[in-house]
């Protein structure tokens, strides 16, 4: 039921790597290092500014793909990866979008499982990719039946 979504993209959404949000996120993953929030430490670093933790792109808004309806419940996060060309800087603007890379079904222990591969991308204002992240989401047969209704 997701096969026809492969290749679809959302429109880009402007996000800001907000200082307070970075600090809260770092705290929530038990990684409250001053490089993430202390301005002086940021200025003295090679970056001359604060950076964000590698899994921070989780908080960005990537926009919506028309016709794609994913429930908040019943999905299993199978795999996740991040690729960076450089760290994210606190205060910078990131243009984010999402695309459906693949969908396939496999027999598993809970029946026929669906695997949805989603790629999220973050670019700078000039359109240069800063990071990409790929999520594989597993959708059970039971959840797909509910979605099909």
């Amino acid at each position: 039921m997701f096969k026809d979504q492969i290749g679809k993209k959302s429109a880009k959404v402007k996000n800001i790597v907000e200082r307070g949000v970075v600090k809260k996120f770092a705290e929530a993953i038990g990684d409250l290092h001053p490089i993430y929030y202390d301005e002086e430490v940021g200025e003295k670093s090679r970056y001359k500014k604060n950076i964000a933790p590698p899994t921070f792109p989780r908080v960005f808004d990537y926009g919506f793909i028309e016709g794609l309806h994913l429930p908040n419940k019943g999905l299993i996060h199978g795999e996740q990866s991040f690729h960076y060309n450089r760290p994210l800087f606190v205060g910078e603007e990131i243009y984010c979008y999402t695309t459906i890379k693949n969908y396939f079904e496999k027999k598993g222990s809970f029946g026929e499982m669906g695997f949805l591969v989603i790629e999220n991308i973050g670019e700078d204002a000039a359109g240069k990719v800063i990071f990409s992240s790929t999520s594989t989401v597993i959708i059970s047969e039971a959840v797909r039946k509910v979605l099909a209704k």
């Binding site: 929530a28 993953i29 038990g30 989780r58 908080v59 908040n72 299993i76 795999e79 991040f82 450089r86």
Partner: protein, 133 residues
């Protein structure tokens, strides 16, 4: 180990053991990340999903694991970070974070990383490619 560049293949970063997983920690992660799937915070919703109790967000564990690399920020950055979610993390689990250097090519360091629970079971596992400047 003071510098990542001095690490030899087969050596590991210092392990970190987390405090037992608490509900408030998962509520904080839900708020900070925007992932409000209720199986991570609300007992009834976890039960409805057939789980014995609430489970940590996979991304909470993945986020924690990356902190093994944070202190080396002057030397380089995490270029690739890939994880497979293998086993669920429950309330009161004690998670230990590990990273071992597997390959070293010029300025590229490839680590095998994992988070293990108090029974020695791997909850998440994958790789970090660290790019030195």
């Amino acid at each position: 180990m003071s510098r990542l560049a001095e690490l030899q293949v087969g050596q590991s970063l210092n392990e970190v053991s987390l405090a037992p997983v608490s509900r408030i920690a998962l509520i904080k992660y839900a708020g900070a990340s925007g992932d409000f799937n209720p199986i991570h915070t609300i007992d009834d919703e976890a039960a409805k999903a057939g789980l014995p109790g609430i489970i940590a967000h996979g991304m909470w564990t993945m986020g924690n694991l990356a902190k093994l690399f944070t202190e080396y920020y002057e030397e380089g950055f995490v270029k690739d970070y890939s994880i497979r979610f293998k086993n669920m993390v429950f309330l009161n689990d004690v998670i230990t974070l590990k990273a071992e250097l597997k390959e070293k090519q010029d300025k590229t360091l490839k680590f095998s990383v994992k988070a293990v629970n108090q029974h020695g079971k791997v909850t998440i596992a994958g790789n970090v490619v660290y790019q030195l400047y």
